[in-house]
C-alpha cells in the first residue's frame, strides 16, 4: 500500500475535490511534475493542462485546468485552479470544436503580444480539455 497525502482542489467557484490520493501529476509552468507521499514542500505555478490523480481506492481521475497554483507541505496538497473540469464533464465533440476554433483564432494576425499570449493559453486549455475528455472515455 503506497503512502497517501491529502489533496484539495479549489476553484473560485467551488471545492472540486477533497480527499486522500496516492499520486498526482500537474502541469507546472516549467513542465509536468508528479507528487507522491512525503514530497518535500513545494510551491508551483501551473499552466493550462491536464491534472491526473489516483485516489486511495485506486481510481484515476483526469481534470482539465486553465492554470493555477499548487502547494504541498507535510503531505497536505492544495491545488488552486482558475477553472477545473473533470473529463466526465466535458463532451469530446464540443472540446474538439473549441480547440479548432482556438487554433484558428491563434493564427489570425493583428493581435498584441498580451492578446497573442492569451490566445495561446486558450488553445492550450482547449487542448487539455480534449485530451482529458478522450482519456476518460477510453
Amino acid at each position: 500500500m503506497p503512502g497517501t497525502f491529502t489533496l484539495e482542489i479549489v476553484t473560485p467557484e467551488r471545492l472540486v475535490f477533497q480527499g486522500e490520493v496516492t499520486t498526482l501529476q500537474a502541469p507546472g509552468l516549467d513542465g509536468l511534475f508528479g507528487v507522491l507521499h512525503n514530497r518535500a514542500p513545494l510551491l508551483a505555478g501551473l499552466g493550462p493542462g491536464a491534472v491526473t490523480y489516483t485516489t486511495e481506492e485506486g481510481e484515476t481521475k483526469y481534470l482539465a485546468i486553465s492554470g493555477g497554483f499548487f502547494e504541498v507541505a507535510q503531505n497536505k496538497a492544495v491545488l488552486l485552479a482558475d477553472t477545473a473540469q473533470f473529463g466526465e464533464e466535458i463532451s469530446p465533440e464540443q472540446a474538439a470544436a473549441e480547440l479548432t476554433a482556438a487554433k484558428a483564432l491563434m493564427l489570425t494576425a493583428s493581435a498584441g503580444p498580451t492578446e497573442q499570449a492569451e490566445r495561446q493559453a486558450a488553445a492550450q486549455t482547449a487542448q487539455a480539455r480534449v485530451a482529458v475528455a478522450t482519456k476518460v472515455r477510453r
Partner: protein, 297 residues
C-alpha cells in the same frame, strides 16, 4: 365617497399587486440564498490565495515587489471608476444609493480636474449616470447568480485592463458598489481597488513554522502570476457581493411592498364594509319612510 363597485375593484387590484410582489420576494429570497452560497464557496480559494502570496512575497526583494505594475502608484492624471448596480429596478433604493454615492465621488474628482474613465455594470448605472452627464466608456449587464465564465472574464479583463494596458493606463481604479451586511442592510461604498495598497496585501508575518519551500518557478516569477490572479479574484468577489446585496435589497423591498399591500387591503375592506352598511341603512330608511308614509294615509 367612492361607490361600492369602485372600492371592490380597487381591492382586487391591490390583491393582484400583492400576489406579484409576494412572488418576486420569494424569487429574490431564493436567489439571495444562492448568492450567499457562492460567496461562501468562493472563500476557500481567496483565503488560500492570500496564504500563497504571504508565503511568496517575503522572498521577493522589496524593490522588485514595489516595481510590480499592480502595486506601483502613479501620478493621478486619469482614474478608472467602476460602478456596479442591478439591471432591473424593484429593489427599493439599492440602485439610487449606489448611484448617489458614485456621483458624489465622480463630481468631486471632476472638480479636482481628474480625468475619469467610467465602466458601468448593470443597466441602471449606465442609464442613470448617462443622463447625469457621465456616459460610460464601457458598460456591461449585471451578472446574475450563475454567470457564464466568459461573461465574468470579459468584465474582469475590462476592469483590470484599465490599469494594466500598455497605452495610457489609468493611475487608480475605484469600485462603487453596495457592501452586503445582511438581507436588510446594504451599504453603498466607493473602494480604491488598484493599485493594491501595501496594507491590503496579505501581511508579511506568516505565522507558524516557516517551512523550507521549493519554488517552481522562482518566487519572483511566481509572484508575477499570483498577483494578477489575486486581483481577478478580488473583482470576482466584488461582483459576488454586489449580487448578494442586490437580491437582499430586492427581497426587502418586495417584502415591504407585500406588507403595504396587505395594509391597504385591510383599509379598503374597512371602507368597503362601511360603505355597504351605509347603503343598507339608507335603503332601510327609504323602506321605513315609505311604509310610514303609507300607514299615515
Amino acid at each position: 365617497m367612492a361607490s361600492l363597485r369602485d372600492i371592490r375593484r380597487k381591492i382586487g387590484t391591490v390583491k393582484n399587486i400583492r400576489k406579484i410582489t409576494t412572488a418576486m420576494k420569494m424569487v429574490a429570497a431564493a436567489k439571495l440564498r444562492r448568492a450567499q452560497d457562492r460567496v461562501a464557496a468562493a472563500r476557500p480559494y481567496a483565503d488560500k490565495m492570500k496564504e500563497l502570496i504571504t508565503r511568496v512575497a517575503p522572498l521577493v526583494p522589496p524593490e522588485v515587489v514595489v516595481r510590480h505594475r499592480l502595486l506601483q502608484s502613479r501620478e493621478a492624471a486619469t482614474i478608472g471608476v467602476v460602478v456596479i448596480t442591478s439591471d432591473r429596478g424593484m429593489c427599493g433604493s439599492y440602485n439610487n444609493n449606489i448611484i448617489r454615492k458614485a456621483l458624489e465621488f465622480l463630481n468631486a474628482k471632476r472638480a479636482e480636474g481628474v480625468q475619469v474613465e467610467l465602466i458601468t455594470i448593470g443597466r441602471r448605472a449606465t442609464n442613470s449616470l448617462r443622463s447625469r452627464g457621465w456616459p460610460a466608456d464601457q458598460s456591461f449587464g449585471m451578472l446574475d447568480v450563475n454567470p457564464p465564465p466568459a461573461d465574468v472574464q470579459a468584465v474582469l479583463r475590462a476592469i483590470v485592463g484599465l490599469y494594466t494596458r500598455d497605452i495610457e493606463p489609468v493611475s487608480e481604479v475605484y469600485v462603487a458598489y453596495a457592501e452586503f451586511i445582511n438581507a436588510v442592510t446594504q451599504v453603498p461604498r466607493v473602494d480604491r481597488f488598484l493599485p493594491i495598497e501595501a496594507g491590503a496585501m496579505p501581511g508579511e508575518a506568516a505565522g507558524g513554522t516557516q517551512l523550507d519551500f521549493e519554488f517552481e518557478p522562482d518566487p519572483e516569477r511566481l509572484l508575477d502570476v499570483l498577483l494578477p490572479r489575486f486581483v481577478d479574484n478580488r473583482v470576482y468577489q466584488y461582483l459576488l457581493e454586489a449580487t448578494a446585496s442586490e437580491y437582499g435589497a430586492r427581497m426587502t423591498a418586495m417584502s415591504t411592498a407585500s406588507d403595504n399591500a396587505g395594509e391597504m387591503i385591510d383599509t379598503l375592506t374597512l371602507h368597503y364594509n362601511r360603505a355597504r352598511q351605509d347603503a343598507i341603512t339608507k335603503e332601510l330608511m327609504d323602506i321605513v319612510g315609505g311604509a310610514t308614509a303609507l300607514a299615515s294615509d
